[in-house]
Symmetry: C2
Subunit: 125 residues, 2 copies
DNA sequence: CTTGCCTCTGACATCCATGTGAGGTTTTAG
DNA sequence: CTAAAACCTCACATGGATGTCAGAGGCAAG
Protein backbone atom coordinates (compact mmCIF):
# COMPACT_ATOMS: atom_id res chain seq x y z
CA UNK A 1 0.00 0.00 0.00
CA UNK A 2 1.11 3.61 -0.38
CA UNK A 3 1.72 6.08 2.40
CA UNK A 4 -1.73 7.61 2.43
CA UNK A 5 -3.42 4.32 3.04
CA UNK A 6 -1.00 3.34 5.77
CA UNK A 7 -1.61 6.68 7.44
CA UNK A 8 -5.36 6.19 7.30
CA UNK A 9 -5.19 2.63 8.55
CA UNK A 10 -2.82 3.40 11.40
CA UNK A 11 -4.55 6.63 12.26
CA UNK A 12 -1.54 8.89 11.94
CA UNK A 13 -0.60 11.65 9.55
CA UNK A 14 1.43 11.14 6.42
CA UNK A 15 3.87 13.64 7.82
CA UNK A 16 4.45 11.46 10.86
CA UNK A 17 5.17 8.38 8.79
CA UNK A 18 7.86 10.19 6.87
CA UNK A 19 9.25 11.38 10.15
CA UNK A 20 9.33 7.85 11.56
CA UNK A 21 11.28 6.74 8.54
CA UNK A 22 13.69 9.62 8.94
CA UNK A 23 14.23 8.50 12.54
CA UNK A 24 14.92 4.95 11.44
CA UNK A 25 11.79 3.50 13.01
CA UNK A 26 10.11 2.45 9.80
CA UNK A 27 11.32 1.32 6.39
CA UNK A 28 9.65 1.37 3.04
CA UNK A 29 10.35 -0.03 -0.37
CA UNK A 30 10.34 2.56 -3.10
CA UNK A 31 8.64 2.27 -6.45
CA UNK A 32 10.56 3.25 -9.56
CA UNK A 33 9.15 6.73 -9.29
CA UNK A 34 10.23 7.02 -5.67
CA UNK A 35 6.93 6.45 -3.93
CA UNK A 36 6.95 4.54 -0.66
CA UNK A 37 5.24 1.20 -0.43
CA UNK A 38 4.40 -0.76 2.67
CA UNK A 39 3.18 -4.20 3.62
CA UNK A 40 0.18 -4.85 5.84
CA UNK A 41 2.48 -5.60 8.75
CA UNK A 42 3.56 -2.01 8.90
CA UNK A 43 0.15 -0.99 10.18
CA UNK A 44 0.76 -2.88 13.38
CA UNK A 45 4.28 -1.58 13.61
CA UNK A 46 3.12 2.00 13.31
CA UNK A 47 0.49 1.63 15.98
CA UNK A 48 3.11 0.11 18.26
CA UNK A 49 5.41 3.05 17.63
CA UNK A 50 2.55 5.36 18.43
CA UNK A 51 1.96 3.49 21.63
CA UNK A 52 5.57 3.94 22.66
CA UNK A 53 5.43 7.64 21.89
CA UNK A 54 2.32 7.87 24.02
CA UNK A 55 4.23 6.17 26.80
CA UNK A 56 6.73 8.98 26.71
CA UNK A 57 9.57 7.35 24.80
CA UNK A 58 11.56 9.50 22.39
CA UNK A 59 12.38 8.57 18.82
CA UNK A 60 15.92 7.84 19.91
CA UNK A 61 14.79 5.47 22.65
CA UNK A 62 12.32 3.68 20.42
CA UNK A 63 15.10 3.26 17.91
CA UNK A 64 17.23 1.59 20.54
CA UNK A 65 14.46 -0.83 21.42
CA UNK A 66 13.66 -1.89 17.91
CA UNK A 67 16.26 -4.66 17.70
CA UNK A 68 14.26 -6.45 20.38
CA UNK A 69 11.08 -6.02 18.39
CA UNK A 70 12.41 -6.87 14.96
CA UNK A 71 14.66 -9.75 15.76
CA UNK A 72 13.32 -11.22 18.97
CA UNK A 73 16.10 -13.69 18.48
CA UNK A 74 19.25 -11.80 17.64
CA UNK A 75 22.01 -11.61 20.16
CA UNK A 76 22.80 -7.99 19.38
CA UNK A 77 19.77 -6.90 21.32
CA UNK A 78 21.83 -6.90 24.48
CA UNK A 79 21.75 -3.15 25.08
CA UNK A 80 18.24 -3.07 23.70
CA UNK A 81 17.05 -5.52 26.30
CA UNK A 82 18.55 -3.46 29.09
CA UNK A 83 17.07 -0.28 27.68
CA UNK A 84 13.75 -2.01 27.56
CA UNK A 85 13.90 -3.02 31.20
CA UNK A 86 14.81 0.55 32.02
CA UNK A 87 11.85 1.98 30.14
CA UNK A 88 9.58 -0.64 31.61
CA UNK A 89 10.51 0.50 35.10
CA UNK A 90 10.15 4.14 34.23
CA UNK A 91 6.74 3.42 32.79
CA UNK A 92 5.70 1.52 35.90
CA UNK A 93 6.64 4.42 38.12
CA UNK A 94 4.83 6.80 35.83
CA UNK A 95 1.69 4.69 35.92
CA UNK A 96 1.76 4.66 39.70
CA UNK A 97 2.11 8.41 39.70
CA UNK A 98 -0.81 8.80 37.33
CA UNK A 99 -3.00 6.55 39.41
CA UNK A 100 -2.12 8.65 42.42
CA UNK A 101 -3.12 11.77 40.50
CA UNK A 102 -6.35 10.19 39.37
CA UNK A 103 -7.16 9.33 42.96
CA UNK A 104 -6.49 12.92 43.94
CA UNK A 105 -8.89 14.12 41.28
CA UNK A 106 -11.51 11.69 42.50
CA UNK A 107 -11.06 12.98 46.01
CA UNK A 108 -11.56 16.54 44.89
CA UNK A 109 -14.63 15.63 42.89
CA UNK A 110 -16.15 13.86 45.86
CA UNK A 111 -15.49 16.81 48.10
CA UNK A 112 -17.06 19.20 45.65
CA UNK A 113 -20.09 17.04 45.08
CA UNK A 114 -20.56 16.63 48.80
CA UNK A 115 -20.50 20.35 49.25
CA UNK A 116 -22.99 20.77 46.47
CA UNK A 117 -25.35 18.48 48.36
CA UNK A 118 -24.83 20.54 51.49
CA UNK A 119 -25.69 23.69 49.60
CA UNK A 120 -28.83 22.21 48.17
CA UNK A 121 -29.92 20.96 51.56
CA UNK A 122 -29.32 24.39 53.07
CA UNK A 123 -31.27 26.07 50.29
CA UNK A 124 -34.13 23.68 50.84
CA UNK A 125 -34.32 24.62 54.52
CA UNK B 1 9.60 31.82 52.42
CA UNK B 2 11.10 33.28 49.26
CA UNK B 3 11.01 31.79 45.83
CA UNK B 4 14.31 29.95 46.02
CA UNK B 5 13.28 28.01 49.07
CA UNK B 6 9.91 27.11 47.63
CA UNK B 7 11.63 25.90 44.49
CA UNK B 8 14.01 23.75 46.51
CA UNK B 9 11.27 22.34 48.70
CA UNK B 10 8.93 21.56 45.85
CA UNK B 11 11.70 20.31 43.60
CA UNK B 12 11.07 22.67 40.71
CA UNK B 13 13.01 25.52 39.18
CA UNK B 14 12.56 29.13 40.15
CA UNK B 15 11.75 29.79 36.54
CA UNK B 16 8.85 27.38 36.68
CA UNK B 17 7.37 29.03 39.75
CA UNK B 18 7.36 32.41 38.06
CA UNK B 19 5.74 30.77 35.06
CA UNK B 20 3.03 29.20 37.21
CA UNK B 21 2.26 32.60 38.62
CA UNK B 22 2.12 34.08 35.16
CA UNK B 23 -0.37 31.38 34.24
CA UNK B 24 -2.50 32.17 37.26
CA UNK B 25 -1.82 28.88 39.01
CA UNK B 26 0.04 30.31 41.95
CA UNK B 27 -0.10 33.57 43.85
CA UNK B 28 2.46 35.28 45.99
CA UNK B 29 2.52 38.22 48.32
CA UNK B 30 5.18 40.74 47.47
CA UNK B 31 7.54 42.39 49.90
CA UNK B 32 8.05 46.16 49.71
CA UNK B 33 10.98 45.58 47.37
CA UNK B 34 8.94 43.36 45.12
CA UNK B 35 10.20 39.94 46.16
CA UNK B 36 7.71 37.07 46.24
CA UNK B 37 6.83 35.43 49.51
CA UNK B 38 5.00 32.18 50.03
CA UNK B 39 3.43 30.24 52.84
CA UNK B 40 4.22 26.62 53.62
CA UNK B 41 1.00 25.54 51.97
CA UNK B 42 2.31 26.56 48.60
CA UNK B 43 4.76 23.67 48.64
CA UNK B 44 1.94 21.21 48.47
CA UNK B 45 0.16 23.29 45.88
CA UNK B 46 3.19 23.34 43.63
CA UNK B 47 3.72 19.61 43.85
CA UNK B 48 0.08 19.12 42.96
CA UNK B 49 0.46 21.39 39.96
CA UNK B 50 3.49 19.38 38.95
CA UNK B 51 1.49 16.22 39.28
CA UNK B 52 -1.18 17.58 36.98
CA UNK B 53 1.40 18.62 34.42
CA UNK B 54 2.83 15.12 34.58
CA UNK B 55 -0.66 13.81 33.92
CA UNK B 56 -0.70 15.73 30.68
CA UNK B 57 -2.84 18.70 31.65
CA UNK B 58 -1.96 22.08 30.19
CA UNK B 59 -1.62 25.28 32.16
CA UNK B 60 -4.95 26.37 30.80
CA UNK B 61 -6.68 23.22 31.94
CA UNK B 62 -5.11 23.31 35.35
CA UNK B 63 -6.25 26.88 35.65
CA UNK B 64 -9.78 25.80 34.94
CA UNK B 65 -9.66 23.15 37.63
CA UNK B 66 -8.28 25.35 40.36
CA UNK B 67 -11.62 26.68 41.57
CA UNK B 68 -12.37 23.13 42.66
CA UNK B 69 -9.11 22.91 44.51
CA UNK B 70 -9.11 26.30 46.13
CA UNK B 71 -12.71 26.61 47.16
CA UNK B 72 -14.01 23.10 47.48
CA UNK B 73 -17.16 24.88 48.49
CA UNK B 74 -17.85 27.64 46.04
CA UNK B 75 -20.67 27.30 43.64
CA UNK B 76 -18.73 28.83 40.77
CA UNK B 77 -16.83 25.57 40.35
CA UNK B 78 -19.57 24.32 38.10
CA UNK B 79 -17.58 24.27 34.87
CA UNK B 80 -14.53 23.29 36.87
CA UNK B 81 -16.22 20.20 38.16
CA UNK B 82 -17.22 19.12 34.69
CA UNK B 83 -13.73 19.81 33.37
CA UNK B 84 -12.39 17.72 36.18
CA UNK B 85 -14.59 14.77 35.33
CA UNK B 86 -13.47 15.12 31.75
CA UNK B 87 -9.80 15.06 32.66
CA UNK B 88 -10.37 12.22 35.04
CA UNK B 89 -11.78 10.12 32.24
CA UNK B 90 -9.04 11.07 29.85
CA UNK B 91 -6.51 10.13 32.48
CA UNK B 92 -8.18 6.79 33.08
CA UNK B 93 -8.06 5.94 29.42
CA UNK B 94 -4.46 7.00 29.25
CA UNK B 95 -3.55 4.81 32.22
CA UNK B 96 -5.19 1.82 30.57
CA UNK B 97 -3.24 2.52 27.44
CA UNK B 98 0.01 2.74 29.36
CA UNK B 99 -0.67 -0.51 31.15
CA UNK B 100 -1.29 -2.13 27.81
CA UNK B 101 2.03 -0.78 26.57
CA UNK B 102 3.81 -1.97 29.66
CA UNK B 103 2.38 -5.43 29.11
CA UNK B 104 3.60 -5.36 25.54
CA UNK B 105 7.09 -4.49 26.75
CA UNK B 106 6.97 -7.31 29.24
CA UNK B 107 5.97 -9.71 26.50
CA UNK B 108 8.88 -8.63 24.35
CA UNK B 109 11.29 -8.95 27.23
CA UNK B 110 10.08 -12.43 27.97
CA UNK B 111 10.44 -13.48 24.36
CA UNK B 112 13.94 -12.12 24.19
CA UNK B 113 15.03 -13.70 27.43
CA UNK B 114 13.57 -17.02 26.34
CA UNK B 115 15.52 -16.88 23.14
CA UNK B 116 18.66 -16.06 25.09
CA UNK B 117 18.14 -19.23 27.08
CA UNK B 118 17.72 -21.18 23.90
CA UNK B 119 20.95 -19.76 22.56
CA UNK B 120 22.83 -20.65 25.71
CA UNK B 121 21.47 -24.18 25.70
CA UNK B 122 22.48 -24.60 22.06
CA UNK B 123 25.95 -23.29 22.77
CA UNK B 124 26.31 -25.68 25.68
CA UNK B 125 25.50 -28.66 23.45
C1' DC C 1 -4.92 14.96 -23.07
C1' DT C 2 -6.73 16.78 -19.03
C1' DT C 3 -8.40 16.99 -14.48
C1' DG C 4 -7.89 15.69 -9.78
C1' DC C 5 -5.75 13.42 -6.27
C1' DC C 6 -1.67 11.40 -4.31
C1' DT C 7 3.18 11.55 -3.51
C1' DC C 8 7.92 13.55 -3.39
C1' DT C 9 11.55 16.78 -1.02
C1' DG C 10 12.73 20.66 1.59
C1' DA C 11 12.00 24.15 4.62
C1' DC C 12 9.86 26.95 7.80
C1' DA C 13 6.08 27.30 11.59
C1' DT C 14 3.94 25.84 15.97
C1' DC C 15 3.13 24.65 20.79
C1' DC C 16 4.51 24.96 25.62
C1' DA C 17 7.09 24.19 29.62
C1' DT C 18 11.50 25.28 30.71
C1' DG C 19 16.41 27.03 30.14
C1' DT C 20 19.33 30.92 29.87
C1' DG C 21 21.37 35.39 29.87
C1' DA C 22 21.52 40.41 30.53
C1' DG C 23 21.23 44.24 33.46
C1' DG C 24 19.75 45.85 37.75
C1' DT C 25 18.14 45.74 42.90
C1' DT C 26 17.82 43.39 47.54
C1' DT C 27 19.26 40.61 51.14
C1' DT C 28 22.56 38.36 53.90
C1' DA C 29 27.02 37.10 55.79
C1' DG C 30 31.58 38.45 57.18
C1' DC D 1 30.99 48.56 54.29
C1' DT D 2 31.55 45.08 50.96
C1' DA D 3 31.09 40.93 48.51
C1' DA D 4 28.37 37.02 47.52
C1' DA D 5 24.10 35.18 46.74
C1' DA D 6 19.36 35.65 45.79
C1' DC D 7 15.90 38.13 43.56
C1' DC D 8 13.59 41.15 39.92
C1' DT D 9 11.93 41.78 34.75
C1' DC D 10 12.34 41.11 29.96
C1' DA D 11 13.28 38.54 26.24
C1' DC D 12 15.13 35.18 23.40
C1' DA D 13 16.39 30.00 22.90
C1' DT D 14 15.30 25.03 23.02
C1' DG D 15 13.50 20.43 21.97
C1' DG D 16 10.54 17.23 19.64
C1' DA D 17 6.72 15.67 17.22
C1' DT D 18 3.81 17.49 14.07
C1' DG D 19 1.52 21.06 10.85
C1' DT D 20 1.83 23.46 6.66
C1' DC D 21 3.25 25.35 2.31
C1' DA D 22 5.63 25.46 -2.18
C1' DG D 23 6.98 23.50 -6.33
C1' DA D 24 7.31 19.32 -8.98
C1' DG D 25 6.23 14.79 -10.50
C1' DG D 26 3.07 10.38 -10.68
C1' DC D 27 -1.10 7.92 -11.78
C1' DA D 28 -6.03 6.66 -12.64
C1' DA D 29 -10.56 8.05 -14.87
C1' DG D 30 -13.13 10.46 -18.23
Amino acid sequence: MRIGELAARAGVSVRSLRYYEEQGLLTSTRSASGQRHYTDDEVERVTFIQRLYAAGLSSRTIYELLPCVDAPSEENSDAALERMAQEHDRLSRHIDELIHTRDALEGLMATNRAHRETLRATAAC
